[in-house]
């Protein structure tokens, strides 16, 4: 957009990423932790796309370098979809086994 500097998009991206980090640390519900991971992935996607738009899709870039950002965003989305499917399957399996999904009390793998 005209008149909006690149740092505005990057600032929003960093805010979302930090919010996701805080959520992963302080929340105890594994589904909310997963949502915070999605939030971080989307923050990174926003940074990818804003860099691609401001730095590589203009006259000084090339088509090959400009498409790097969108391609990475597509692959991040696909990997996030696979990760969510497997992760929610694991959460359901744990819930069937333990009837309790507080991540602070899941210490079965502790040596």
């Amino acid at each position: 957009m005209n008149g909006v500097p690149l740092s505005a998009y990057l600032g929003l991206s960093m805010f979302m990423f930090s919010t996701g980090v805080i959520g992963v640390i302080i929340r105890r519900n594994p589904i909310v932790i997963f949502m915070c991971i999605e939030l971080m992935l989307n923050a990174v996607n926003l940074a990818f796309l804003s860099f691609a738009r401001y730095k590589f899709a203009t006259a000084e870039g090339s088509l090959e370098s400009a498409m790097g950002g969108p391609m990475f965003v597509i692959f991040v989305m696909a990997v996030a979809a696979a990760e969510v499917a497997v992760g929610l399957g694991i959460i359901m399996a744990i819930f069937r086994l333990r009837e309790n999904i507080d991540v602070d009390e899941l210490n079965l793998l502790k040596g």
Binding site: M1, N2, G3, V4, P5, L6, S7, A8, Y9, L12, M14, M16, F17, S18, T19, G20, V21, I22, I25, I26, N29, I31, V32, M35, C36, E38, L39, N42, N45, L49, A52, R53, K55, F56, T58, A59, S62, A66, M67, G69, P70, M71, I74, F75, M77, A78, A81, A82, E83, A85, V86, L88, G89, I91, M92, A93, F95, R96, I101, D102
Partner: protein, 172 residues
């Protein structure tokens, strides 16, 4: 540098504020369903922001894939496990919480102070290469990025098999 108050700036500020509020809501709400709805709203607004970056193809993909597929999966699992209002985890105070918030804010301040001033003057120049054109995206995906594309298809296949195996009810 004074920020010029253009229409684009006002629209961006509204969208960014909504996205930031929804992101805080994901972390702050104790009810998992409310967190999920906040995340849906955040992803939707993020799709609008992709449109404002002239990446229209990925903006549509964002709305369809994230708010249409991934978040439906989240809400299904919340409802299957009955984690709505009846299953609030009891709030207990531990030292993890202030330490986590402190580290998060420190991370935000560190990243912002290092990176944001560098690009404060980078204005958007006219778009030369059409990032959001579905034809260009498809051509790039099937020429330069065909090997990662196939790797992702294999990953998704493994993900399907793995999630079915994990979520299947055990025969005892």
């Amino acid at each position: 540098m004074p920020v010029k108050l253009t229409l684009e700036m006002v629209i961006f500020a509204a969208l960014a504020g909504a996205a930031a509020l929804a992101a805080v809501g994901v972390v702050a709400f104790r009810n998992a369903t409310r967190s999920a709805l906040c995340l849906v709203f955040n992803f939707f607004v993020l799709g609008f922001l992709y449109f404002s970056l002239q990446v229209e193809m990925l903006g549509i993909t964002q709305v369809v894939v994230y708010t249409g597929a991934i978040m439906v999966l989240f809400i299904f699992v919340i409802m299957l496990l009955n984690l709505g209002s009846s299953h609030l985890l009891a709030e207990k105070f531990d030292g993890k919480k202030p330490v986590g918030i402190f580290f998060g804010i420190a991370l935000a301040v560190l990243l912002s102070s290092q990176i944001v001033p560098m690009f404060a003057r980078t204005e958007s120049k006219p778009l030369v290469y059409p990032l959001g054109d579905s034809k260009v995206v498809g051509q790039t995906l099937f020429t330069s990025y065909v090997f990662p594309f196939e790797a992702v298809s294999f990953l998704l296949l493994v993900g399907i098999v793995g999630s079915i195996l994990l979520a299947k009810r055990r025969m005892s």
